[in-house]
């Protein structure tokens, strides 16, 4: 029996990075990007973006609102490598340097329809106390050179990371 030709399917993702809750930090912006397998390719829209800087509202909610649009279409022949959206949130520290406040990743939902996802954020933590102090003082926190590693499963052993910051959704 002849093998069926691989069939291409499209995945359209529309949405927004709505807002975040970070009890300890303010004046934050977020970057998003997509991580996907080899059989996937974006065909339309933007696969990365940087939002505006937002400050906490004065009311009781203390919400950080971005309302940042996400609009991208992928094409693929295989569900393996289903796209994940990786979010990185940055903000100023006490000395005015831009430091990372959280990383998070989640798979794009697999079923059609409207979904609301709350993504816990975490930051990598240095293991030695001296390093923690030095990084606080110098404004150079441990940061991932490529945020896309957050979406990968391999190589996570040996990395300590408190979900320091909060949640973005």
């Amino acid at each position: 029996m002849a093998a069926a030709a691989p069939s291409v399917f499209l995945l359209m993702v529309n949405g927004q990075v709505e807002s975040a809750q970070f009890p300890e930090y303010d004046d934050l912006y977020c970057k998003y990007c997509f991580v996907y397998g080899q059989d996937w390719a974006p065909t339309a829209g933007l696969e990365e973006g940087i939002s505006q800087i937002t400050s906490k509202s004065q009311d009781a909610r203390r919400a950080l609102v971005w309302n940042f649009p996400i609009d991208v279409t992928f094409k693929s022949t295989n569900p393996y490598g289903w796209p994940q959206i990786v979010l990185s949130v940055y903000g100023p520290d006490v000395f005015g340097n831009d430091v990372v406040r959280g990383y998070g990743a989640v798979h794009v939902p697999l079923s059609p329809g409207r979904h609301k996802k709350t993504i816990p954020m975490f930051v990598p933590e240095s293991t030695s106390k001296l390093q923690k102090f030095t990084s606080w003082f110098m404004g150079r926190r441990p940061e991932y050179t490529d945020p896309k590693v957050v979406a990968q499963g391999e190589g996570r052993e040996g990395k300590g990371s408190p979900p320091w910051a909060g949640w973005a959704w």
Binding site: N78, P79, H107, S111, P120, E157, P163
Partner: protein, 175 residues
Amino acid sequence: MAEVHVIGQIMGATGFSESSLLCKWGVHTGAAWKLLSGVREGQTQVDTPQIGDMAYWSHPIDLHFATKGLQGWPRLHLQVWSQDSFGRCQLAGYGFCHVPSSPGTHQLDCPTWRPLGSWREQLARAFVGGGPQLLHGDAIYSGADRYRLHTTSGGTVHLELSLLLRHFDRYGVEC
């Protein structure tokens, strides 16, 4: 051959008395199953909750299986360990759950347990650390020989898994 895609995350864990937790996970399948893409096992990072008591790992799982039969449907087994400030690891719990068999997105809560040991071992674990562990990991997901164990409960691991099934109707399986 029928195909199964398991795509999701090990979100995190709650209810453990220890903090700074990591999870070693693996997927066990029967002989008729073949892993086409993805890694069958892995280890999350160590996570220390700062807000609330849930340790979040958000560890992605993406597996593509092909199978000739339903026997040996995939089972996800977990070992949760805690790491102290000196870098030593201590067992916090073992758990397993079957991968769901209906397509769609599922929230799973997997309870865990750990071997108790004699009162001497319990005392030593409280003061010095360590404690009994299983010699062979298959007791985590198999029922044979469990009657020999005396265990206590650990916390719960939370997972979100989405299932995509393909070609099952060709074999007369409705899903």
